[in-house]
C-alpha cells in the first residue's frame, strides 16, 4: 500500500496548478462563464498544446499514454481552478468511451481529433426523467435502411452548444445503443439552460436525426453496459474536481482566518473557527482518499463499483458541509458576487448532482452490501 503520488504525477499536478493559476484568474472564469460558448478557444488550444486532451490516450492516437490516475491529478487541479469549458465532456465522457468500445476506424478517426484539440465532443445521455438508469432513456433510434433515425429530447447535456460530435444514447430494438452523431446534423436543436454553475448544460432536441449504422459506438442494444462504465468514470472524474474545489475552498478559508482580525485577534485563533477548519480538512482528506482509491482502481481496471459509490456518495455529502463552513468563516464578504468563493459554491453543487448524487450511490452501496 502506498498513497504517494509518482514523480510524474507530482510534476503534472504542479505544472497544471501553475498554468491554470496564471491563465485563469477568476475574472477570466467569469468572462468564460458569461460568454456564449462557455470556454476560451485560445486556452483550449494551449491546453491541447500541453498534451492535456490526449493525456491518457495511446500515442498512436496523438496521446501521451498516461493513465486515468494521472488524468485524475489534472482534473483535481481543474476543479481547484474552476476551469469552465468542454474538457470533461470531450475527454472523460467521450474520448474514453471511444477508446473503450470504438472500432479501429472510429478510434483512428476521432481520437486524434480529440488529442489535438480539433474536435469537441459531448455525451447526450440524460433526459427529462433526470435519471441515470436505463429506464430513464426514452429517445428512440429507429432502423431505416442502412441508417438510424433518432428522435427525442436530451436534457442536461454539457457543452452541446459548442460540440462537434455527440455520443447519443437511444433506445433501439432490444436495448440502448450509443451513436456518434455529428452535432451539426439536420434535426438537432440546442438550447442552453441557465444553471447554478453557469456552465453550458443544454436541452438537445433530436427531430428525426439521421445517423449511419456505421456510427454505432459499441454493440447494438448493449450500450447500457458501456454507459454504466461512462457514469462510473464520470463520477470519479467529478470526485476529482470536487476534491480540488473543496481543497481550494479550505485553503482560501484558512488564509482568510489568518488575516481577518476581530476583537484584536485573527479569527483563526478562536477555537470555534479552528474546529470548523479542522472539520473542513477532515472532509477534504476523506474525499481525496476515497477519490484516489476509486481513480486508482479504475485506472488499474479493477472492479470497483463499491469504491466509486463510496467516493461519490461521500463527496456528495462532504462538499456541502465544507462549503457551508467556508461561507460561515468568510462572513458577509463570502456571499458577494465579487468574491472568489461563490465560484466554488456553485460548482460544488453542480458536481454533487452530476453522475449520481449521494443517495444514488448510497443505494449502490446498499446493494453491494447485499441488503
Amino acid at each position: 500500500m502506498n498513497l504517494a503520488l509518482s514523480e510524474e504525477q507530482e510534476m503534472l499536478k504542479t505544472m497544471a496548478r501553475d498554468f491554470l493559476a496564471d491563465k485563469l484568474p477568476k475574472a477570466t472564469v467569469k468572462e468564460m462563464e458569461e460568454s456564449e460558448e462557455g470556454y476560451s478557444a485560445e486556452l483550449w488550444k494551449e491546453m491541447a498544446g500541453l498534451g492535456w486532451m490526449g493525456l491518457a490516450f495511446p500515442e498512436k492516437y496523438g496521446g501521451s499514454d498516461m493513465s486515468f490516475l494521472d488524468l485524475a491529478m489534472l482534473l483535481e487541479e481543474m476543479g481547484r481552478a474552476c476551469l469552465p469549458g468542454p474538457y470533461f465532456s470531450t475527454v472523460v465522457l467521450s474520448g474514453f468511451t471511444i477508446l473503450d468500445v470504438g472500432t479501429d476506424e472510429q478510434k483512428d478517426e476521432y481520437l486524434p481529433k480529440i488529442s489535438s484539440g480539433e474536435a469537441i465532443f459531448t455525451l447526450a445521455l440524460t433526459e427529462p426523467s433526470a435519471s441515470y438508469k436505463e429506464s430513464g432513456i426514452e429517445t428512440k433510434a429507429a432502423a431505416e435502411g442502412g441508417n438510424y433515425v433518432i428522435s427525442g429530447t436530451k436534457l442536461f447535456v454539457p457543452d452541446a452548444n459548442v460540440a462537434d460530435y455527440m455520443l447519443v444514447a437511444a433506445k433501439t430494438g432490444k436495448g440502448v445503443t450509443l451513436f456518434i452523431v455529428d452535432a451539426r446534423s439536420p434535426g438537432i436543436s440546442t438550447t442552453v439552460l441557465k444553471t447554478i454553475a453557469n456552465d453550458k448544460l443544454c436541452e438537445v432536441v433530436f427531430d428525426k436525426v439521421k445517423v449511419s449504422k456505421d456510427n454505432i459506438l459499441g454493440k447494438l442494444d448493449q450500450g447500457w453496459k458501456e454507459i454504466e462504465k461512462i457514469i462510473q468514470r464520470a463520477a470519479v472524474g467529478k470526485c476529482c474536481e470536487m476534491t480540488g474545489c473543496i481543497q481550494q475552498a479550505l485553503d482560501m478559508t484558512v488564509e482568510y482566518a489568518k488575516d481577518r482580525k476581530q476583537y484584536g485577534h485573527p479569527i483563526g485563533s478562536f477555537q470555534v473557527i479552528q474546529h470548523y477548519c479542522a472539520d473542513m480538512a477532515t472532509d477534504v482528506d476523506g474525499t481525496r482518499l476515497s477519490t484516489y482509491q476509486a481513480a486508482w482502481m479504475l485506472s488499474e481496471g479493477l472492479p470497483c463499483a463499491q469504491e466509486v459509490a463510496i467516493a461519490k456518495a461521500w463527496a456528495g455529502e462532504a462538499c456541502p458541509r465544507v462549503m457551508a463552513l467556508a461561507h460561515q468563516i468568510h462572513g458577509a464578504i463570502g456571499v458577494t458576487i465579487d468574491h472568489d468563493l461563490q465560484y466554488y459554491t456553485r460548482r460544488a453543487k453542480a458536481a454533487e448532482v452530476s453522475f449520481g448524487d449521494a443517495s444514488f450511490y448510497q443505494d449502490v452501496v446498499a446493494k453491494e452490501m447485499g441488503l
Binding site: K258, H265, Q271, D285, W314, M369
Partner: protein, 390 residues
C-alpha cells in the same frame, strides 16, 4: 499510488481471521464491543503472545517481529472486527513497549520487553488527574528524588486498565519549580508496591475500565524512570500520537455493525425485512461509507508511521473522525431498533445481546479518551493548517 495490500499482508489477515474464528468456534469467547479495553482475558493474551502478535512492530533485536505498522493495523483491525478480548495486552503492545524501545535504557529493554512480549504486563495508563484532563501538563502527582529512589505522591483518575493492572505507566512532576511542561517525567513500574490503592469508577454502562489510583509515599527505584528526566511531557506528546492512531478509534463497536446488518435482514416489520426499507438501507449504507472512509484515514496514519514520522495531526484527524463515526453507528442502531433499542444486555427480549444499548452509552467516552475531540481539532488547526494559537 497503490491501494492494494501485499500478498503477504493479505495472507497475514487471513491467518489472523482463521485464528480468531477458531477461538470463537471453540467457544472461548464471543465477539463483544469494547473488548479491546474491557475484555480482560489473560489466557487469550497468552495465546496471542505465543503467535508472536505482541510487539509486532518492534525491532527483532528486542524480540519483536520488525514488521510494519500496516501489518499491525491489519492485526488490530481483525481483533476489533471479531471483538476479541485483548484488553490485557492492548496498552503494553500499543504504546508502552514502543516507549521502552524508544526511550528505555538497555537494562530496561532487557527487563521489560520480554515481559510485555509474553503477555504478562497488564498496564494501567496513569495520566489524567482530577484537575489535569485536557491540560495534562498541570498534573500534580509528585515524584520526589530520595537517594536512589523516587517517592510518588498523588492521585490519578480515569486510569484505563487500572483495576486489572500489574504495571503502571505514570506521568509525574519531578521539578515543581520548572514551567509546567518542563518538570514532568515518565515512569514505568510494578503496582505490587505498598502505598498504591485503586478505586474502581463505574462507567455509564455499569462497567469498570477506568479507575482512580492513589499513591501515598510509594517508593520506586530510579531505574523506573523512562527516558529523560523532566522531558516527559514531550515524550508523552509523541506517545499520544501513537495512542490515538489505532483502529480501536474506529472499530471499537464494530461487532454492533455486523450484528445490526444481520438483524435488519432477519427482522420483519410491516411484512418485509427491515433491510428492504429504503430509509434503513440508506442509513446502513451511510454507515458503511463512513466506516470505509475511516479505514482509509487509519491506513494513512499507519503509512505515516511506517515512513518513520509521528502521525501528529493525522492521528488526531483519524481519531476525531473515527470516534464520531462510532457514536453515529451506536445512535443509528438504536434508531433502527426503536423500542427494542432501550433493552439492556441482561434484559429479556434484548436484541443483539444488548450491544446497541451498551455501545450507545459507552461510545460517549470515545471522543474523550486519549484527547478530547476539541483538543484534537486544535491540534489539526494549529499543526496541519498552521492557524495561530493567539
Amino acid at each position: 499510488m497503490d491501494f492494494r495490500l501485499s500478498e503477504g499482508q493479505e495472507k497475514f489477515r487471513q491467518e489472523v481471521r482463521d485464528f480468531l474464528e477458531g477461538e470463537i468456534k471453540q467457544g472461548l469467547w464471543e465477539p463483544t464491543c469494547d473488548a479491546w479495553i474491557m475484555g480482560h482475558d489473560p489466557e487469550f493474551t497468552k495465546r496471542v503472545a505465543k503467535k508472536g502478535w505482541i510487539g509486532l512492530t518492534w525491532p527483532k533485536e528486542y524480540g519483536g517481529q520488525g514488521r510494519s505498522y500496516i501489518d499491525r493495523l491489519i492485526l488490530t483491525e481483525e481483533m476489533l472486527r471479531y471483538g476479541a478480548p485483548a484488553a490485557c495486552h492492548w496498552f503494553a503492545d500499543r504504546q508502552i513497549g514502543g516507549a521502552v524501545v524508544h526511550y528505555g535504557t538497555d537494562e530496561q529493554k532487557k527487563e521489560l520487553l520480554p515481559m510485555i512480549l509474553k503477555g504478562e504486563a497488564y498496564v494501567g495508563l496513569g495520566m489524567s488527574e482530577p484537575d489535569a484532563g485536557s491540560d495534562l501538563a498541570s498534573l500534580k502527582t509528585k515524584a520526589t528524588e530520595d537517594g536512589d529512589d523516587f517517592i510518588i505522591d498523588g492521585q490519578k483518575t480515569w486510569t484505563s486498565g487500572g483495576s486489572k493492572m500489574n504495571w503502571i505507566y505514570l506521568v509525574a512532576r519531578t521539578d515543581p519549580d520548572a514551567p509546567k511542561h518542563k518538570g514532568i517525567s515518565e515512569f514505568f513500574f510494578s503496582t505490587d508496591l505498598p502505598g498504591i490503592s485503586v478505586a474502581p469508577i463505574e462507567d455509564i454502562t455499569g462497567g469498570v475500565h477506568f479507575n482512580e489510583v492513589f499513591f501515598e509515599n510509594v517508593r520506586i527505584p530510579k531505574t523506573c524512570l523512562i527516558g529523560v528526566r523532566n522531558k516527559g511531557f514531550y515524550q508523552i506528546l509523541n506517545q499520544l500520537d501513537y495512542e490515538r492512531s489505532g483502529m480501536e478509534r474506529l472499530m471499537a463497536n464494530y461487532p454492533l455493525f455486523d450484528a445490526l446488518i444481520q438483524y435488519t435482514r432477519e427482522t420483519r416489520r410491516n411484512g418485509k425485512p427491515l433491510s428492504q426499507d429504503p430509509l434503513i438501507r440508506s442509513k446502513l449504507a451511510q454507515l458503511k461509507i463512513g466506516l470505509e472512509i475511516g479505514r482509509m484515514h487509519m491506513y494513512r496514519v499507519a503509512m505515516v508511521m511506517d515512513e518513520g514520522r509521528a502521525p501528529n495531526w493525522e492521528s488526531s484527524m483519524s481519531k476525531v473522525y473515527g470516534t464520531a463515526f462510532e457514536q453515529r453507528l451506536a445512535g443509528t442502531a438504536i434508531e433502527i431498533l426503536g423500542l427494542y433499542g432501550q433493552l439492556a444486555p441482561e434484559s429479556k427480549w434484548a436484541p443483539m445481546r444488548g450491544m446497541a444499548y451498551h455501545s450507545y452509552l459507552s461510545s460517549k467516552g470515545y471522543s474523550l479518551q486519549a484527547g478530547s475531540s476539541e483538543v484534537l481539532k486544535n491540534i489539526m488547526a494549529q499543526r496541519k493548517l498552521e492557524l495561530p494559537s493567539q
